[in-house]
Symmetry: C2
Subunit: 317 residues, 2 copies
């Protein structure tokens, strides 16, 4: 089993409106509701790949009940700790005329330390029998920035390798706890260094690699930076790899990073060599962009990119 942790899940609601009037009442032509939050997107991608996955998280109120019901409807095994606050919603409006999407993301419920402790008891139980664990997404209000570090230390103690996708202080503290892989995106690396990191050619990539090395020095065993349409850059003690999709894909980039995380944790669980892991992860990320909904990917596009992606060693030097 691969365990995917989502401390701040969401009910994702998407309205498709033929032509939005931003000052009036609109009647959406279609409404989609699905369990969301990065950790649940990772779990859904793994589930779609046929991987034995367990989603774990915190759930509160009727919105939390909705998230749990939606996961059950997908047949995705999940263990949730009930909390007193209300699980957040994200609301996305897609304008059919312009193609633009506006997102409105509610904050999560404030958690107590007792609620997090209750989660940890269930998490420790789940680690027994997990091949790897993915820890993804923002921390809900009330949790200390060390929350992911705590979960990584518990995983290490149980001999379970972890992939971390977080940002800011939670990422830094988490990296210090020695996860097998951290997966920042460009924005996360930029906020770490305080410098813009234009990818482009040459210098750009080496600046990204330098930023990634800060996370290695902090304690992460490997860093895989996701560069959007520019693919992945892996920086490990054994060297650097660059994975590039054959061509930029247009679509919805939301959730593409989560598909990359899913690919990385699957490769970690199976002990695949880096080249294979990265080819799988970049194909998942690219095929997620081609799918209309976060947490889903196009199987055809996955196969196409898997065959056509280039993975080159030392690309970041």
């Amino acid at each position: 089993v691969i365990t995917s942790v989502c401390l701040n899940p969401a009910l994702d609601v998407t309205h498709h409106v033929p032509r939005v009037d931003w000052t009036e009442v609109n009647r959406p032509g279609s409404v989609h509701t699905r369990p969301g939050g990065k950790g649940l997107n990772v779990a859904r991608t793994l589930h779609a790949l046929g991987v034995d996955v367990l989603a774990m998280g915190l759930s509160g109120g009727v919105t939390g009940a909705g998230v749990e019901a939606a996961l059950a409807g997908l047949g995705l095994p999940a263990v949730f700790t009930r909390v007193s606050g209300e699980t957040r919603r994200t609301f996305t409006v897609v304008d059919g005329a312009s193609g633009a999407a506006a997102g409105f993301h509610e904050p999560g419920p404030r958690l107590s330390s007792e609620e997090f402790a209750e989660f940890c008891v269930k998490y420790e139980k789940a680690l027994d029998g997990s091949a790897a664990v993915a820890l993804s997404g923002s921390l809900p209000p009330g949790l200390p920035a060390s929350a992911y570090a705590t979960l990584i230390e518990m995983a290490s103690a149980a001999g379970v390798p972890a992939v971390l996708d977080a940002h800011g202080e939670a990422l830094l503290r988490g990296a210090a706890a020695g996860p097998a892989v951290v997966k920042p995106n460009l924005a996360e690396l930029e906020s770490l260094t305080g410098q813009p990191l234009p990818v482009g050619r040459g210098d750009g990539l080496s600046a990204v690699a330098d930023a990634a090395r800060r996370l290695l020095r902090a304690g992460a065993h490997a860093v895989v930076a996701s560069l959007g349409a520019d693919g992945l850059l892996a920086v490990t003690p054994e060297g650097c790899w660059r994975a590039e999709p054959p061509a930029a894909v247009t679509g919805n980039p939301t959730g593409a990073g989560d598909a990359v995380t899913a690919g990385l944790v699957q490769g970690l669980a199976h002990g695949w060599p880096w080249e294979e892991r990265l080819r799988h992860a970049v194909a998942l990320g690219t095929s997620a962009v081609a799918a209309p909904v976060a947490g889903e990917f196009s199987q055809d596009e996955y196969q196409r990119v898997l065959a056509a992606a280039t993975v080159s060693r030392d690309g970041g030097r």
Copy 2:
């Protein structure tokens, strides 16, 4: 007890965003969730007035459970029939910079005739002991346009007078069933006549009165047209009354019509004379505009408008 029926309730979610970016992810500064739909707004206004009220409706899925939980939290007595579909949501995004509000209203769940029959059994039971009934809002998909007519006939058989706030075919069919009062707004009268009805002075009002008389001829015992900031026009077999607020109030007109309906059904239940009913209703409608949230009203503003509103007989001639 006054019974307020809401066949198509909603969970109303409002996001306040300091400055909306319509092409990006926004983080709402505050999130408000409340039970909505016109019939529940009427019930909440009556409840706030200290009136003994029973809300009745249809509720489905986790969103319906959320609506029921929110009413219970307000201490508002409610009897819901559970249905297999999912209760709808409305999302409103208020842009702090421009003050503009965008609304996104989901369609309601599709109802089966068995579900409506189950509701009718509970409704018939509730009529026994009701002083009056308010029937407000859109019909959910799957219900025939005669649904309100059916409920008005059941109320008549039980000796309970009804106020109807509906539109289109449901309004026409409902009026034919002989409710004590129908409360169309200008847009509803316009869609009935197929003609624009500018209020203004003189001719404008008499055109509104003519449109209202069509509903009298259809079978309604009285018609109270709500004219927005221009107040109310009542057309009854005993004559016409015009109720005007002292001055236009700026604020949120959503739910003002529901506050008027609440005032009208309360006056009907108590048998108040038309002048008193209309003064109460126009003060509630105006004070609802001054309140930031649909289904609520400002007590101070209510008292102020009640004292200052003018109600004149034969104003519509």
